[in-house]
């Protein structure tokens, strides 16, 4: 017997898991940027064989991040709120991953 429901479960679980984890992390990044703390990746520590960042391009990115931070329309309080929200998203994201792993380990359910 072919258990078609099992395929639906796998597809659904992977869709749900991926969407939740990716959304939470992306939202965290977005809030971090809103809070004026955009993550600009240092080309020294991320040499990037995949996305090749030239020093010029990296300087441009850093400038852009500063510009975004200075032109931020949010008040100090709102920024702080965004920062708290960002960290909350990251924590929830890690939590979602750990919960997902917990679900599939039979040893934890006895």
């Amino acid at each position: 017997m072919i258990d078609w429901a099992a395929f639906v479960v796998v597809a659904g679980a992977s869709l749900l898991g991926s969407v939740v984890v990716v959304s939470l992390y992306s939202l965290g990044l977005r809030l971090l940027t809103s809070a004026g703390r955009a993550l600009v990746v240092d080309p020294q520590s991320f040499t990037g064989a995949i996305t090749i960042l030239t020093p010029k391009r990296a300087a441009k990115e850093a400038k852009r991040a500063r510009k975004t931070a200075s032109a931020n329309p949010l008040t100090v309080g709102q920024k702080r709120l965004a920062l708290v929200g960002a960290y909350a998203c990251f924590v929830l994201c890690v939590g979602a991953v750990l919960y997902g792993v917990y679900l599939i380990v039979p040893a934890l359910h006895r």
């Binding site: 017997m1 072919i2 258990d3 099992a6 395929f7 479960v9 796998v10 597809a11 679980a13 992977s14 869709l15 898991g17 991926s18 969407v19 984890v21 990716v22 959304s23 992390y25 992306s26 939202l27 990044l29 977005r30 971090l32 940027t33 955009a38 993550l39 600009v40 990746v41 520590s45 991320f46 040499t47 990037g48 064989a49 995949i50 996305t51 990115e61 852009r64 991040a65 510009k67 975004t68 890690v94 991953v97 997902g100 792993v101 679900l103 599939i104 380990v105 039979p106 040893a107």
Partner: protein
């Protein structure tokens, strides 16, 4: 005769562990190529982490091992008694086919080679009725067709979401570089999921051998020492395979953006973990390839190179029957008794030596790094000049 019996069981276990080692050796790239390439982790740290997580993953769930040991081949009780000799022949077939595809640069799946070899050997050694085709279709063939497609769709949606949520006005920082940090975790999850699926296949084979040898009761799961040994073999293989990635990195990989890579890896890990839980024996390479293609399509201006996609799919389809033929040949010899086993071993080693000789002469080599890379090239990304760049150029001109 008990001495002979133990000898063949030990031989099969050793061969299965060699297979497990090469599996880890091949698949380090699936998980760790991206974070090493983006510089998210130093190569040695990344490879070490992948090895440890494979080890941990192997202990988490043994559902896939039960599929292999208790499902595919009818091992007894109304079915037909499978012997260690037949499993031995299946392993030889799988290893030989793996090496051929690896050295000739054909896309393949070591998991499907293993199943193909076992099925071929069982059909020749025992007969058509020895294979439970329902289980083969339900737990191996259908997942192989469905999983790369669903993971592709999931990766597509996840990539779109990641870009949608982090979108900003042109010229503003979008913070997407931060996805590189996330990749450290998502690739670790891929390594963990690899342990829950691929290490299990060897556990299943060893358990099947022990059942066939009469050491273990029919229908029981893998014993603790089997889990430990298989986990170690795949972890050591993963660690040893690392140097090749570092070596290949110089040639560059397909253009994968951090946000895209993170979405692809998350989808891969989620799919493999969910499948392992339900005992589906997936090919981790096929899933990783599917998600790389899906996430590539999630980017702006992406089109598919169908010819290339077709080539990869053909290689996948070919694996099961081709390794089944190899396994069948090996089983034909194994039926001759101890002499046949020796012939199998000699022929197997001869093929290995010949293939390596040829590979050294023509300098062809292939591994999963290229499988994933090929998958990435299936998607063509149109390079659209960004508005900001044009505006900057005007400023310079003024």
């Amino acid at each position: 005769m008990p001495v002979d019996f133990t000898l063949i069981v030990v031989l099969v276990i050793a061969l299965a562990l060699v297979f497990d080692f090469t599996n880890g050796f091949h698949d380090t790239a699936n998980a760790m190529a991206t974070p090493i390439a983006t510089g998210a982790m130093r190569p040695k740290v990344a490879v070490g982490l992948a090895a440890v997580l494979n080890l941990v993953g192997a202990f988490l769930s043994t559902e896939v091992a039960k599929t292999v040991s208790g499902g595919i081949i009818r091992e007894g009780d109304g079915g037909v008694q499978i012997t260690p000799e037949i499993i031995f022949a299946g392993l030889i077939g799988a290893i030989v086919w793996n090496l051929i595809t690896w050295l000739r640069g054909l896309p393949s799946s070591s998991s499907h080679a293993l199943f193909g070899g076992l099925i071929g050997a069982a059909i020749i050694g025992i007969g058509f009725q020895s294979v439970d085709y329902n289980v083969v279709v339900a737990k191996v063939i259908l997942p192989a067709l469905i999983a790369p497609l669903t993971v592709g769709v999931v990766a597509f949606i996840a990539t779109r979401l990641a870009y949608f949520i982090t979108r900003r006005d042109a010229g503003r920082a979008d913070g997407r570089g931060g996805f590189r940090y996330a990749q450290i975790f998502s690739s670790s999850l891929v390594a963990l999921s690899h342990g829950t699926n691929d290490a299990q296949k060897t556990m299943g084979v060893i358990t099947l051998t022990l059942i066939a040898g009469g050491v273990q009761s029919v229908g029981s799961g893998p014993q603790l020492w089997v889990i430990v040994v298989c986990a170690l073999a795949i972890a050591i293989g993963t660690y040893t395979g690392g140097w090749r990635i570092i070596h290949t990195m110089g040639r560059g990989l397909t253009d994968v953006k951090p946000a895209q890579g993170f979405a692809a890896e998350t989808s891969t890990a989620a799919t493999i973990l969910a499948s392992s839980h339900l005992g589906f024996a997936l090919s981790t390479t096929q899933v990783a390839s599917g998600s790389v293609i899906g996430s590539g399509l999630g980017r702006r201006g992406a089109t598919v190179r169908w010819g290339m996609a077709g080539q990869i799919a053909l290689g996948w389809v070919l694996t099961l029957p081709a390794s089944a033929i190899m396994g069948a040949f090996a089983a034909g010899f194994a039926l001759l008794g101890p002499v046949g086993i020796v012939i199998d071993l000699l022929l197997g080693s001869l093929v290995v030596v010949l293939l390596f000789r040829r590979a050294q002469r023509s300098r062809i080599s292939h591994d999963n790094l290229h499988d994933i890379d090929d998958a990435g090239r299936v998607v063509k990304i149109r390079k659209t000049p960004r508005k900001i760049a044009r505006r900057d150029r005007k400023k310079v001109a003024l």
